[in-house]
């Protein structure tokens, strides 16, 4: 049944997000065209407007993916639509997993659309080489493989944002256990669980720091850590976030399985 739930969750998201994807790609094309034309004052002005619109759409993709995931979660589990969700012959775990995977898919997809839009708008061979040069300079200093560095960096950012989204889910679950002030409490519990999860990341890094003096330097002074410790820090961050996301997911499902009280 998970695949069926997921099918409808993905359909919902594509219906609501496609307008931002299309507009982002549209403005990336207009930006590209306008910047390739002769630079008259008017073309420059329109070009800048196009750039503004492109970045507005990029921000919209990021914010809307997050907001729509939360709204979809709340609506189908606690609002009118929940009358259907909770009477379907599916487990609460499947309901949660579907929302989890849907968010994951759209976060990755949104990210790819953003990369594609930036590529369309700004790609030139010179710029590409320039960007590569900057990344190479960083990775050479860190004795890191370039591709691995880019992937690791994106993974840390991705996991961090995904953790924030899931904290929002947890906040909604806890907030809607109360009879009054559900929205306010959802925001509060979401925020608190995010702070707690970030504190756990720091705590675990601190514990690792007890065995690695250069990681401990992050907590005790402002000296840059060495390259091998930087690698360890990135790997640790990824592992800790995966662990926290996994634990938070288990916690969310456990709370959801205790039952709901729909208005």
């Amino acid at each position: 049944m998970l695949n069926k739930l997921l099918k409808y969750d993905l359909k919902y998201m594509i219906k609501n997000m496609s307008v931002f994807y299309i507009l982002s790609l549209f403005f990336s094309i207009t930006t590209r065209i306008l910047f390739s034309l002769n630079e008259t004052v008017m073309v420059k002005i329109i070009g800048q407007i196009s750039v503004g619109c492109l970045f507005a759409m990029i921000v919209n993709i990021l914010i809307n993916t997050m907001m729509r995931s939360w709204i979809r979660f709340r609506d189908s589990i606690y609002k009118d639509e929940s009358y259907l969700t909770h009477t379907l012959p599916v487990t609460k775990n499947d309901i949660y997993n579907s929302k989890f995977i849907q968010t994951l898919v759209f976060f990755i997809f949104g990210f790819l659309i953003i990369l594609l839009s930036l590529f369309i708008a700004y790609y030139t061979k010179d710029r590409w080489l320039e960007l590569k040069g900057v990344i190479n300079a960083i990775t050479t200093g860190l004795e890191f493989n370039t591709t691995l560095f880019v992937i690791s960096f994106i993974a840390v950012v991705f996991l961090e944002v995904f953790n924030a989204i899931q904290c929002g889910f947890f906040g909604i679950i806890l907030g809607y256990k109360n009879n009054n002030g559900k929205i306010g409490l959802s925001v509060l519990f979401g925020f608190v669980s995010y702070i707690v999860s970030q504190s756990i990341v720091l705590l675990l890094l601190f514990i690792f720091g007890l065995f690695d003096s250069s990681i401990m330097n992050l907590f005790t002074n402002n000296v840059l850590i060495d390259t091998s410790s930087m690698k360890l820090l990135i790997v640790l961050s990824i592992l800790i976030y995966i662990l926290i996301i996994g634990l938070m997911s288990i916690l969310c499902k456990k709370e959801l399985n205790k039952g709901v009280n729909i208005e």
């Binding site: 009358y83 487990t91 009879n179 039952g259 009280n261 729909i262």
Partner: protein
């Protein structure tokens, strides 16, 4: 023949903020009956129905459907019509029909299509473009197009004009099999009285009366509607 009841509720209690909404509810429903769950507004009818449908969590007590606790298996055999519009309004009627077909193996797509046609409802229309009354009719059709064992209808006549009420009651009567049971919650008793086999009166969160409809009528020498008015006179 199995002694397992279609629905069995034992010592059920539900409280919100220390306020008791349902108190020690005991109820059993066997197959092949139409039961009227009758009570004034705020008596606890919807709360009871929501508990049976896993939309509320009991404070204490037990609900068994076909011998099993409320869960995936019970939801396969219960077809529930809430008192509100609950379908995703971005969807077209045809999409909602596919949705039901995907999740409920007992959903009869052709029957739903026929019933919608009878009611002159366009399946290619999005729900957002339909009036509340039309949406309620779509919901009723979807719910009654399942070959469920237990139908639970919460105020199915509430937002419907009197002319359509008879059609709805006929739809209910002609669309459930003889081993299935229907629980109808309403305060529009005179409209449904003719189809009821059993009645359950609920007041202030307690079941105050459970009887076969004919027995009660003969005993009190009056209609269920009149008995209700007498029992719950303000």
């Amino acid at each position: 023949m199995s002694n397992i009841k279609l629905l069995e509720i034992k010592n059920l209690n539900k409280s919100f903020d220390n306020k008791e909404i349902l108190k020690d509810i005991n109820l059993s429903v066997s197959g092949g009956k139409i039961i009227g769950l009758l009570g004034k507004n705020g008596a606890g009818k919807t709360t009871l129905i929501k508990l049976i449908n896993d939309l509320l969590t009991p404070t204490s007590g037990e609900i068994l459907i076909n011998g099993k606790k409320v869960g995936v298996e019970s939801k396969k055999i219960v077809s529930y019509l809430p008192e509100r519009t609950y379908l995703n309004k971005q969807m077209k009627v045809s999409e909602v029909m596919k949705y039901f077909k995907d999740f409920y193996s007992d959903f009869d797509y052709d029957k739903a299509e026929k019933l919608l046609k009878d009611l002159d409802l366009d399946i290619n229309k999005p729900l957002s473009k339909m009036s509340k009354g039309m949406q309620e009719k779509v919901q009723l059709v979807l719910v009654m197009s399942r070959k469920a064992k237990l139908y639970i209808l919460d105020e199915p006549l509430g937002g419907v004009d009197p002319a359509t009420r008879d059609y709805i009651l006929d739809t209910i009567l002609s669309n459930f099999n003889e081993n299935a049971s229907v629980i109808i919650s309403t305060h529009l008793i005179s409209d449904i009285e003719r189809i009821l086999d059993e009645v359950v009166f609920i007041d202030k969160g307690k079941i105050v009366l459970q009887s076969e409809a004919d027995k009660l009528r003969n005993k009190e020498k009056s209609s269920i509607d009149e008995i209700f008015r007498r029992t719950f006179k303000c």
